[in-house]
Symmetry: C2
Amino acid sequence: MRDIFNKTLQPSAQAVIASGLRPFYRPMATRDGETVVEGVPMVMAACNDYLGLAGDLRVIEAAAKALDLYGTSCSGSRSVCGTLPLHEELEARLADFLGCQAAMVTTTGFQANLSLSPLFGRGDVVFSDMANHASLVDATRLGWATRRLYRHSDMADLERQLAAADPDAAKVIVTDGLFSVEGDLCRLPELAALAQCYGARLVVDGAHDIGLLGARGRGVTEHFGLPEAVDLYTGTLSKCFGSIGGVVAGPADVITYLRCTARPFIFAASMPPAAVAAALAALHIIESEPERRTRVFRLAHQLAGQLRALGFDVGEAGTPIVPVHIGEAELCARLWKEVFDEGVFTQVVMAPAVPVGRATIRLSLQAVHTDDHLSRIIGAFDVAGRRLGLIPGPTAATVPPRRTEQSPEAGMRLR
Amino acid sequence: MRDIFNKTLQPSAQAVIASGLRPFYRPMATRDGETVVEGVPMVMAACNDYLGLAGDLRVIEAAAKALDLYGTSCSGSRSVCGTLPLHEELEARLADFLGCQAAMVTTTGFQANLSLSPLFGRGDVVFSDMANHASLVDATRLGWATRRLYRHSDMADLERQLAAADPDAAKVIVTDGLFSVEGDLCRLPELAALAQCYGARLVVDGAHDIGLLGARGRGVTEHFGLPEAVDLYTGTLSKCFGSIGGVVAGPADVITYLRCTARPFIFAASMPPAAVAAALAALHIIESEPERRTRVFRLAHQLAGQLRALGFDVGEAGTPIVPVHIGEAELCARLWKEVFDEGVFTQVVMAPAVPVGRATIRLSLQAVHTDDHLSRIIGAFDVAGRRLGLIPGPTAATVPPRRTEQSPEAGMRLR
């Protein structure tokens, strides 16, 4: 007789665990572009707090005030006892920020995307980019619509599939705004044109771009100068907003419909008071301090340029997500370890998050990174890359570990 | 051409909105068994913070300390930069508390249940109680296993379906521990016996019972004296733990498997520092102050007994969830409004959360409710029930509204 517990991990996951490298699930404490991993201070280059607001004293103070006033939880669904006036204020502010009639906030960004599923009805067709975030994928799986996956940002493939679908069916294209592994943007102008041509709605998950892209931080629509291109946004409050939670924003009647039908919205305890207050304070900073966006993009361009000059393949995306393409998972894990030993914490992305053979180290820049942080990230890749023979230069034997050179006064402390 | 936005609400939802009664999504601020709804102080009888810990100063202080130390968010997945030592401490403490080898915490309770889906593989069969929480339902929908729904707590129906299934298939029974609408417990002894007889695993969602049931608060297994009956637990930290987040606890290898495969765990920003610290502080209180459980059960028995004596149908569950069965949705909404006008906030449960014609007002008791709160809840139902002719006694004409009798000094304030 079979047992549901007799499942086995993919070989790649088994290999990572067996290797003892532990690139994942390390306990650490992170703040202001730095982290302490098991007692060792490091530069943090894998955190999605792009604007550095999770450690901003104004955001922390707003959260502390809400904690004091309202306690640690609403302990109930938005629909019952889980709506503070603060939740409504955040929804109104986010709708305004995104130029939408209405918005609803969810307890996580993952659940914001899952909350789309009531729109994906039987007979409808959802066209989904193959590189979309897991939560968008799961949203389409929770819906009842037919799913059509198109190759990542391949507009010809998308158009072929749109043309092949039942002309009478309701259609929707769903895409990440800024793709989280490669750091590339969706092709918004082409997507909008195809949506219009085939009568499809366009839904964009702005998890990584809302707050970060565009002069005022309004995301890919502002970046491309197409404020009307998107029919419905989703987003997260855990990245640029330095908090936790998600948002769905769009026409008022659609948001009302989702409030009454989206199970991950209705049947979940609401965003806790401190998280709502933190997001509100962050939104104020996002609106009032555009220099944070300028800085993180400048750092990202410097990093990409210098890694490219060293000989690494960092793609051409030009966003604060800088991928270092390696290919083979085991080699990628070794590079991760060498860079780790040089005092820089990065993220390995391997199958199943990306196709087998496309393993990547993903770097995330933050507005709170200093020029010194940037030098240390570049220095670590320089040494580690040469040691592994991935880039030209003196090889392992002549490149001593740099770890011991780090000085404790370099600012590696948490408050 | 059709449009995915052209969806319409169920007639019941439309009727509620059209009625203007607004039993749902009211902004309010709740603490210690009381709430302020649009400026009006009321008794809160619809909050799932059973032990009253979301407003406990020790829990708030622990959260404030974490906020100060670690900021408002980890801004990343548990697997990358989202694991604080605090997350691991909470997991170890919860595993120990539940008598399991290992536990993993998720960002919401909803996502704890969704994280089960990798266990529901192709060819497996999941047997699910029809009254299970929406998140368990969605977990089975995200999985690939065959789904078999059995009538609520109907062990004969479950056995019939177990017997009819492929004897070689891996099987799992999933059930709420304490069902959230009726307040009734799962039939754990029978479920465990059936699971053993048919070689099925038993998964229990302890969202409402962990922390509340059993002398030490360990939930339905402790209540029934069957510590070994459950193979895998899920639970939430937003109810008895006064925080936000969820937990999956069970054998170490199963938890490791889920850490590497469960998308709602891997691809979501982790529980924020303040929420982890709050849950840890709450766990300490859950373990050290059993008198909170005693008190909330005593209040619940008093409430159910007195409502029954007035003539209401409150079922026989005997837990801190006290349902007041009405039946017809519109009548239920009117009772909700009358009780609301008497200064007591309750929850209406209607289709689709329950079958059409089974509308209920759900009351939740808390250890922080005072005897005065209890009297006011009972008084409100007495007056409102007579006014609507639902219970015997003087009718509407002779029962004046009590609302103006409330004195501001009755303790209706938030800090």
